[in-house]
Symmetry: C2
Subunit: 367 residues, 2 copies
Amino acid sequence: MKIICNKSDLMKALNTVTKAIPTNTTMPILKCVLINASSSNIKFTANDMELGIETNVNGFVSEKGIIALDAKLFSDIIRKLPESEVTISVDEKKNVTITCEKAKFNIMGLEPDDFPYLPFVEKDYKISLSQFTLKEVIRQTIFSIATNDSNKVLTGELFDIKENRLRVISLDGHRISIRNIELKDPYEDKKVIVPGKTLSEISKILSGGTEDSVDIYITENHILFEFDENIVVSRLIEGNYFQVDKMISNAYETKVTINRQDFMSCIDRATLMVKEGDNRPIILNIDDHVMDMKISSQIGSLNDTIEIEQEGKPIKIGFNPRLLLDAMRVIDDEMVDIYYMNTKSPCFIRDEAGTYNYMILPVNFVD
Amino acid sequence: MKIICNKSDLMKALNTVTKAIPTNTTMPILKCVLINASSSNIKFTANDMELGIETNVNGFVSEKGIIALDAKLFSDIIRKLPESEVTISVDEKKNVTITCEKAKFNIMGLEPDDFPYLPFVEKDYKISLSQFTLKEVIRQTIFSIATNDSNKVLTGELFDIKENRLRVISLDGHRISIRNIELKDPYEDKKVIVPGKTLSEISKILSGGTEDSVDIYITENHILFEFDENIVVSRLIEGNYFQVDKMISNAYETKVTINRQDFMSCIDRATLMVKEGDNRPIILNIDDHVMDMKISSQIGSLNDTIEIEQEGKPIKIGFNPRLLLDAMRVIDDEMVDIYYMNTKSPCFIRDEAGTYNYMILPVNFVD
């Protein structure tokens, strides 16, 4: 094999595919990038068996071939080369030579036959959306997936397609995050659970352009994202997702409209009074168009006040400030609406248009 | 006590003094910043018993007093306050109230009498230099102090003052770094060993301005740096420093003049072939105005070539590439001169003016 590429194109491709290199594995082949130049195109692939990424690399194939190379060493070498043309050649003993200007590296390649190829994904079912939308949706929901594995289903996000609407849902034991996206076309109904890791890695690769689109193909066991020069394939999580609709209500006794930035600053300060793992609530006292906030712990106490628009009854209710903060951070609106029912019921942070809905459970407190 | 300061002034003072807060200590008082408003000035102090920092804070003393506050909590609170006036008041039970706009924190202070005051330093012996020079000198020598404690003396740097010359020296088992600074005035001879930690912390506080000066006071056991609104006091390291002059020689058989950036890029690439802890050398083959470089290990091999100016005999010599890299990184010259004697003797990287001299021991190799 012999290929010639620009350093910058190699670097871009490596930055993309290495997102699928596992951090912990005892199998050296999984730590590899597969360089496939068996046709006139050059493709790089990485695959941790759950998530696989393939990208086309701009370059010239002078001699066809295929080889697997340790991803970290390969990336480090390319990164430290001058901004110039790079030649990668492989002999029959899998000795790999990487040449750039006067620098010449010799390293050992690995047997490409051992590399786990990406699963074949039937392209029967497809939806399309903009890279901007997908990236935003991930950012606005990924924070509330469960971080421990005790319920595998909760480490992923539900992608729920119904006609021309995609609903993306994540939830842990304390909150639910929902984003609704209107699609250009209607599709057949589909519900799948996409691993959180897949979504967080893909959001790093997405350009986020509003004009750039992503095609998403779904089969029974896999989801495939196709965009720019990249293909990202991931296993789906098996199992049934929670029936979120049963946990959501539009009824309320109190509606508050609050300046997001001001509220965020207050609850951010409140987090200083809570040690990690402590479930100390911030107590919101909503009355007469004012929200008084109070939190106290062995560290100390904080009192704060914000003027609000209020509709309905006064209420006094406690929340974990970190959960409020997570939701406030990802909303883009200047003013947000928060709906309360009573001290024991969750609050809902949602917009009129129904693009987002964040449910957060309250925390008991002694006054 | 009651003081009023701007958030930004508090933040600046805290960023300065917290450099002397120890990361590991079982004594809560050492984790504190002392707020001293016992006169009409406000002073913040932190002291880990080796290194102490005191800074004047812009502000108004409405009620005199003194209190110790946990540095991390205090800093976190101030950081998260709005950009506005901050009032800090303390009652007789050491309850501290920090108020800014509508936010009001209550935290507990600690007994100021338990706080270790900075040692008194006699101001008999003083030298002055610019902040720029001191910051540069530290950057250009700090990398070669010894990192383990087996010889305490080597964890510091020698400040050697002779007439109007300051020589700063650091060394570990493999190299020596020397910087010579010409002082404006002649001083009495003095040799002291300043802890590396003191120097690295102080260099973070120094503005680095060429017009801003630092006054340095030295006693038998302490060194005190006075600049801007700050006082930094540090213990000196006891003991005798190595007699570096005996290890230095100006004789050479081969002199090479090389483009620093090009050489640095080559040896940086070479470090990829060396695992941490491995003493694999890069072999430099200097002949006929060309430096050929070669390194090989179980990871792979690298060959590279640079055109050089050469004076004297050809030589083939091996070095730990990381040591060469460290020196090359801190030199500012475009072209550097390197002097070699023979395969067993150290090389010297020094400039004509004698402002710097980096000695690096070679590594044996089998060809």
